[in-house]
Symmetry: C2
Subunit: 117 residues, 2 copies
DNA sequence: TACTAATACATAATTTTCTTAGGTATTTAT
DNA sequence: ATAAATACCTAAGAAAATTATGTATTAGTA
């Protein structure tokens, strides 16, 4: 089995929202920096979410009513926790299901499994 | 199991080159229109490659030395067949392996399989 | 104690990639 | 005849990421 040190950025495109929504669904609430670290840790560094990509995404999900925030102060440093709203939970589930289906299709298309598996 | 009529364009981003390289690896040579039809057919319409995305990609792969072309005339209509060059075959294999690895990582990350599966 | 790394947020310019919308022309089916 | 399918192509714009910054606090270390 081939092991990558880190995926080409092209490959990761389009999966960021799915990853973020899924993590929030599993963990209740998380803050931005925590998300970057968690993804890095869970993927052994193969996926590293940059802050330049993450924060605009979080803001747009919030503006879209799928996330809500809550500030917490650790000393003088602020942490902005994000969690799913009710519609956000629906979106999260839909996206995860869509991605699972997509992976099956890609597996078949790329002939990575016995056909019809 | 959830079934999508067609995936959100966001999800497909970044997979086009992998799909094209894989099809050419499996089928020897194909022309542009044939690729769009084959993908549509193999994925039951869930992935539909637009020509506006495909042709520029084919041209850039060719310019990059990974594909070479051969014209064929069907009556007066031209067909431009693409096939992998030697370096193109290496790239194709690498991309497919990378994608397979990526899917495993995403499965784990999205908790779609028992962990460590 | 000074310095560096890590934590934690954020935005802006640029690049990449795709969508949308157009264009040309031939062949097949109605 | 006309529409749909086949077959190529490009260009303007949108979307999403990268790269490069910026600010500020806290923890670790030399």
């Amino acid at each position: 089995m081939y092991i990558c040190p880190m995926y080409s950025s092209e490959l990761i495109k389009g999966t960021l929202k799915t990853i973020v929504l899924n993590l929030l669904k599993e963990n209740g609430k998380m803050y931005g920096y925590e998300i970057t670290q968690k993804v890095k840790e869970l993927t052994d560094g193969k996926i590293q979410i940059t802050e330049g990509a993450l924060y605009p995404t979080l803001h747009s999900l919030e503006q879209n009513g799928e996330l809500e925030t809550e500030k917490e102060y650790i000393g003088k440093r602020v942490r902005k926790y994000y969690k799913l709203t009710k519609p956000g939970r629906v979106t999260a589930t839909a996206r995860i299901n869509e991605f699972a289906d997509f992976m099956n299709t890609m597996k078949f298309l790329l002939d990575l499994e016995p056909k019809m598996g």
